[in-house]
């Protein structure tokens, strides 16, 4: 067998969550597995990609049985039945493996189509493998060229445009109003899970000033502490409304907790500065008439879900174009690698002693 690039593993396409939990590697587990792989005869280069939606092993070998030995070593470590792994296993080689890496890096193979987090995860996996001396001329070229190709896919198509989760859609809307979140003050009304998720999404995108108010003040304090935010008595929400730019409402109140009159008063106290209500409650927390006030923007759960769905559909519509680009790029990368693959050393020349987790 001539030297070949391959990828084996399991992804969300065929492995449900319950199985992926069993296949997922801990940091220590990944380290131990890398040490095991380093001992496999015929495996010239390798890298381990371990995320919540996929466990993949990229390798270069000149021996036909190497992928099977990798699968066996992995199953042995995880205590997973090899036959079961074989059933859900992803196994590609040559240009198909290259195409897969480009697609994965560009977010085309992700559960949340077009997401960009995977790009950082693949880069991290490569960096760890490279630092440990597990990659060589083939995988170095493969990964670096694949990153360029993935960037090309993302910048020349609309695959990454528009958020696809409700919380991130809300954050994007806030950005279209305020431009930046660094000076934006956010009030979270209600201390439930959906409100917390949205608040976290705001924080992850740079929001610094977050205040939590809940009917149960101790719960507000608890959440505020967890989110590194401040707490406010729920009864002060109307009097202090003008202080905030974004109000995330997620209470279980049977009637609106923000009225038209309250909002009018608040807007008079903050002229020229918009106010953005994100109403995630059912029944709604914001009086629907509030949306009619100039410079006030109200989005409820249905609005956000609709935008997320539109974005999902728009991304899906871009897939054909993205895959065509990925195929072209993969073929070019494969041709470049094929041209030099014959002159490769048969075994890694150096294995790092101190391994870092991929």
């Amino acid at each position: 067998m001539s030297t070949e690039i391959f990828v084996i593993g399991a992804t969300h396409h065929r492995a449900p969550l319950a199985l992926r939990e069993k296949l997922a590697l801990t940091a220590d587990g990944a380290l131990a597995l890398a040490q095991t792989f380093a001992q496999i005869e015929g495996l010239q280069e390798f890298a381990i990609l371990n995320t919540c939606n996929r466990i993949e092993f990229y390798g270069v070998t000149g021996q036909a049985g190497t992928p099977a030995r990798i699968a066996a070593a992995f199953c042995a470590q995880q205590g997973f039945a090899p036959e079961e792994f074989a059933n859900l296993q992803l196994r590609l080689q040559g240009c198909d493996a290259v195409h897969h890496l480009v697609a994965v890096s560009a977010g085309l193979d992700s559960q949340m189509l077009g997401e960009t987090e995977i790009f950082g995860q693949v880069k991290g996996a490569y960096a760890a493998a490279q630092a440990a001396g597990f990659t060589g001329p083939v995988l170095n070229r493969l990964f670096q060229k694949s990153f360029q190709a993935a960037k090309h896919v993302r910048t020349t198509t609309a695959i990454t445009i528009g958020q696809v989760s409700v919380a991130n859609v809300a954050v994007d809307l806030a950005l279209t109003i305020f431009g930046t979140l660094t000076n934006t003050r956010i009030l979270l009304l209600g201390a439930g899970e959906i409100g917390e998720k949205t608040a976290k999404a705001f924080q992850s995108r740079g929001a610094a000033a977050l205040t939590v108010a809940s009917r149960r003040f101790e719960r507000a304090m608890e959440l505020a502490t967890a989110l590194d935010a401040s707490a406010m008595p729920f009864t002060q929400r109307e009097a202090r409304l003008a202080e905030f730019d974004v109000v995330v409402c997620a209470t279980s109140a049977p009637d609106p907790v923000i009225s038209l009159a309250t909002t009018r008063v608040a807007m008079a106290r903050r002229p020229g500065r918009p106010l953005f209500f994100i109403d995630l409650a059912l029944p709604r927390d914001i009086d629907p008439q509030v949306a009619e006030i100039d410079n006030v923007f109200v989005y409820n759960l249905d609005d956000l879900a609709k935008i997320a769905e539109q974005n999902r559909r728009a991304r899906a519509a871009e897939m054909t174009k993205c895959l065509a680009i990925a195929t072209t790029k993969a073929e070019i990368i494969w041709q470049q690698i094929s041209a030099t693959i014959g002159s490769l050393p048969l075994k890694l020349t150096s294995r790092a002693e101190g391994l870092s987790p991929p």
């Binding site: 020349t156 198509t157 609309a158 445009i161 528009g162 994007d172 809307l173 950005l175 279209t176 109003i177 305020f178 431009g179 002229p271 020229g272 500065r273 918009p274 949306a291 100039d294 410079n295 923007f297 989005y299 609005d303 609709k306 935008i307 539109q310 974005n311 728009a314």
Partner: protein, 290 residues
């Protein structure tokens, strides 16, 4: 510096072509890729700006003053003024639709002026008598109108962004508009700058008018003061938080349209509907090689 031997109008056609190319390229990019082209629009606008600068310089040297002697020159100067500011402000927003709309505005103003030959058939000579202060007054006034042009553009984008947020339509071209707050901030600054420049223009002009009140074109004076009053009034009301958001944007948009209409009225009152002092060959001026 060796320039190709083009006439002033040829350079201005080149400038208009650059602006139009920027607009067409933006349209193609939006239709094909669903996003504005980014930096290349800025380059097209910068290229057009340089060509326009050369064209206006040739015209200026030929008329021995700031080329503001007829509607053609005034429209060209307004477009040039707007682009001057865009080149400073637009760098920050080069990935948004700001450049696309600016190239559209500049292309419209320059092509309109080039497409109506009669606008360039008359030429007041000397344009400003022998008084450089009047020339400065006129240049500042028309420059402020260019600022109002860019202001109108930001106001238009504000209204689009506001509409997209209120109607909950976020996809497509809307996603490339700057944020509400950014557009509002730019609008306030442009209105403040335009009002200040126009105020300075009136102050400079008043020195001359006070010496010889009989020489004042009353229509022009009244209309210019009205434009300034609206601009300064809107600016004050905005700062006081009385005129905000959508209403502020509509006033800014109307201000520019009103300013352009006032120019037509001023020109009409000045010529009395007659073609006065026809220029010998105003449209064909070639810069001498040095």
């Amino acid at each position: 510096m060796m320039w190709p031997e083009f006439t002033d109008r040829a350079w201005l056609w080149i400038a208009a072509s650059f602006y139009l190319a920027g607009f067409i390229q933006g349209t193609v990019s939006l239709l094909r890729h669903g996003r504005p082209p980014g930096g290349t629009t800025y380059l097209f606008i910068a290229g057009g700006y340089l060509a326009q600068l050369v064209g206006l310089s040739i015209r200026g040297r030929a008329v021995a003053g700031c080329p503001l002697g007829n509607p053609f020159e005034i429209f060209q100067f307004i477009a040039w003024s707007a682009i001057t500011l865009y080149l400073v402000v637009g760098v920050t927003f080069r990935k948004s639709l700001f450049g696309y709309f600016t190239s559209g505005l500049a292309a419209s103003l320059t092509l309109l002026s080039l497409a109506i030959p009669v606008w360039d058939h008359t030429q007041r000579r000397p344009i400003f008598g022998l008084n450089p202060w009047i020339e400065l007054h006129a240049a500042l006034a028309v420059f402020s109108y260019g600022v109002f042009g860019l202001l109108a553009l930001t106001a238009f984008m504000f209204l689009l962004r506001n509409y997209s947020l209120k109607s909950k339509r976020q996809g497509g071209w809307f996603s490339f508009l700057p944020s509400i707050m950014e557009l509002d901030h730019i609008g306030v600054r442009l209105l403040g700058a335009g009002s200040a420049i126009l105020a300075l223009s009136l102050a400079v002009g008043s020195v001359y008018w006070l010496k010889d009140i009989s020489s004042v074109n009353v229509t022009k004076l009244v209309l210019t003061v009205v434009v300034w009053l609206i601009a300064a009034g809107a600016f004050t009301l905005r700062l006081l938080g009385i005129l905000i958001a959508k209403r502020f944007a509509w006033v800014c948009l109307s201000l520019f349209i009103g300013a352009l209409l006032s120019l037509a009225a001023v020109d009409q009152s000045r010529t009395g509907g007659k073609k006065t002092s026809p220029a010998s060959r105003p449209a064909r001026v070639v810069l001498e090689r040095s």
